[in-house]
Symmetry: C2
Subunit: 343 residues, 2 copies
DNA sequence: TTGTAAGCGTTATCAG
DNA sequence: CTGATAACGCTTACAA
């Protein structure tokens, strides 16, 4: 590998000058600069990133933390690829790289370990959940002064840097949409309350129902675990009280689709016999039959914003910053939530 | 940050000894080792990975290259997450990290750039396509002696390290399955021939048809681009010659699902009026209606094997290695390919 | 079995 | 504007 030294020799300058040229530092004679650049080109010199990291005492890496859950697929892979793309785009703009870290499920969740070896300067944490363990881990991170940004998860009572979609408004929109289509008996199939999203969605649901002067009967509140299967199983419970349900808002698309499948087996077709709207606007929403109405969540932008914020923090050497960003959602209407024909 | 020096002082040994302890090198008195470990623990010392990389002249990073195609979703996100998980598992075992690199579509595809800064020791390249540009780029990589492994893509006439699924056998199995279910008029909806997979699948299709003594009429060969939309559009062409088609093998699940949607609009239901089998056994196959039969491709294992092989190469400092690995596929039967009732 | 010391390729500070 | 030079934290001969 060709080093700075060789470039300096060829250009007839000191090594320091070569560095200055490559880092755009200090005033310098254009002719010198040119000579250096010329020599570098001729030798095909490229600075060694590892040596730079070493000298700068910054890795130039943004850690991206994903809970690794084989087969469980908490994320629609849609989420996954959009958010990574967003982070990737931003990181590139800032001259950083992404170091992917897949957490093993059994692993005692010690986020600090990621920073210990100093291979990342900051992290974006995806798919966190509100458990005592994780709270502890995150508080430790913060106490140690390690910059990080949570995506899609708040921790009630704790304040971290975070980027989220506005799930309260999103749910509100979803339920309003169903109401506007003429439905009143609206059930809510939520996901685990370990995710702050779920709480937010519940709040949005309540708000919309209340504003419309509609009762929220406890029987209308179901809980799944964000899997298709749990949606499928919820179909049975919905079916039992079919007199009292005209429409369902599901907290993600996978459950919505499972629900449609379950009800279809009983002869109820979404968009004909009842309405469904999901959440995430994932690929599957377009693939399902009938196509699923959903709440679009700007995952790409969320990833990008998370990376932008936390890297800006690093580069400014800020002590601690608890910036919170909430991005807007949008209703996407497809066939599954068509107007109630009986109204 | 606490450094080796401090540990050495506290333990009353030289810095070299501390390194030896942490690298498990050379014979050493157990008592010394213990003292060092004790000191390290007390100070909460952890070796600085960047400094290690610097001194070892190895980054400890495996680059993972993904063509970034917003919205196009070449990959089922299923593919994406499985394969990354496989790579992730393997790098962890070898003490490596994954550096994710999302290639922009417009970007002149220069793989060498990834190695130039020496931030990766090797790469796993996903989603490559057979274009003159990419051929050139890969040949350059090889000429420069940079280790890499292609996943899911061969280049006819060129020999690289590669891991693939056995798509020839996979397709053969798919078509055989349809035949065993009693179908004879079997169309093939392939993807772009820029992917070697597509060629392989075509070969498997031909083989199965030929062995069964069935003609392959050109009209039975359709080409999409692996998107749901292209499957949907293919439905029209299938419909036009519905007299001559009883079953369809689609080169991925997305197209298969699009096809089912398109034909459903014309009153043809998969698993009743015709049969479909897809390929990938992605999430969507389970979510579709009816559930889609498919060819399971061991993405996780492919990722793992690719990482294993290429890292083994790096660690042994091998000059060049063109190992080829082919992993087996499996038919997964669901409703969409049910037996032809008229037989 | 352990210590000494020469790198590794930069950045960054301080003179000049 | 440019050149010396001291870090940076570790690995790895080589010596003892």
């Amino acid at each position: 590998m060709v080093t700075r030294k060789e470039v300096a020799e060829l250009a007839g300058v000191s090594e320091a000058t070569v560095s200055r040229v490559f880092n755009g530092l200090g005033p310098m004679k254009p002719s010198t600069k040119e000579r250096v650049l010329e020599a570098a080109k001729q030798l095909n010199y490229h600075p060694n990133a590892i040596a730079q990291s070493f000298a700068r005492r910054r890795s130039g890496n943004l850690g991206v933390v994903l809970p690794y859950m084989p087969k469980v697929h908490l994320f629609s892979a849609y989420y996954f690829s959009e958010i990574l793309s967003g982070i990737g785009e931003q990181v590139r703009e800032q001259g950083y790289d992404m170091l992917l870290s897949l957490l093993k499920p059994d692993e005692s969740l010690d986020y600090s370990a990621l920073y210990r070896s100093q291979k990342v300067d900051a992290c974006v944490i995806l798919g966190a959940r509100d458990t005592p363990e994780q709270r502890q881990s995150l508080m430790k991170l913060q106490a140690e002064g390690h910059p990080f940004c949570l995506v899609n998860q708040r921790f009630e009572g704790l304040s971290f840097r975070e980027v989220d979609a506005d799930h309260i408004v999103g749910s509100y929109q979803a339920v309003r949409h169903l109401q506007e289509e003429g439905y009143q008996k609206i059930a809510f199939l939520n996901g685990s309350l370990g995710y702050s999203n779920s709480l937010d969605r519940l709040e949005g649901y309540h708000k919309a129902m209340k504003e419309a002067g509609l009762d929220v009967k406890p029987e209308l509140l179901l809980e799944g675990n964000y899997s298709r299967k749990s949606g499928y199983e919820a179909a049975e419970r919905i079916w039992e009280q079919r007199e009292h349900v005209e429409a369902v808002f599901a907290a993600n698309d996978r459950m919505a689709i499972g629900l449609m499948q379950g009800l279809r087996e009983r002869g109820w077709i979404a968009g004909r016999d009842f309405a469904v709207i999901g959440c995430d606007d994932s690929d599957a929403a377009k693939l399902s039959d009938p196509p699923l109405s959903s709440i679009n969540v700007p995952f790409y932008e969320m990833g990008k914003e998370a990376a932008r914020g936390v890297l800006a923090g690093v580069l400014q050497g800020e002590a601690a910053n608890h910036t919170k960003v909430k991005l807007p959602t949008q209703v996407v209407v497809r066939q599954s939530s068509k107007r109630n024909p009986s109204k």
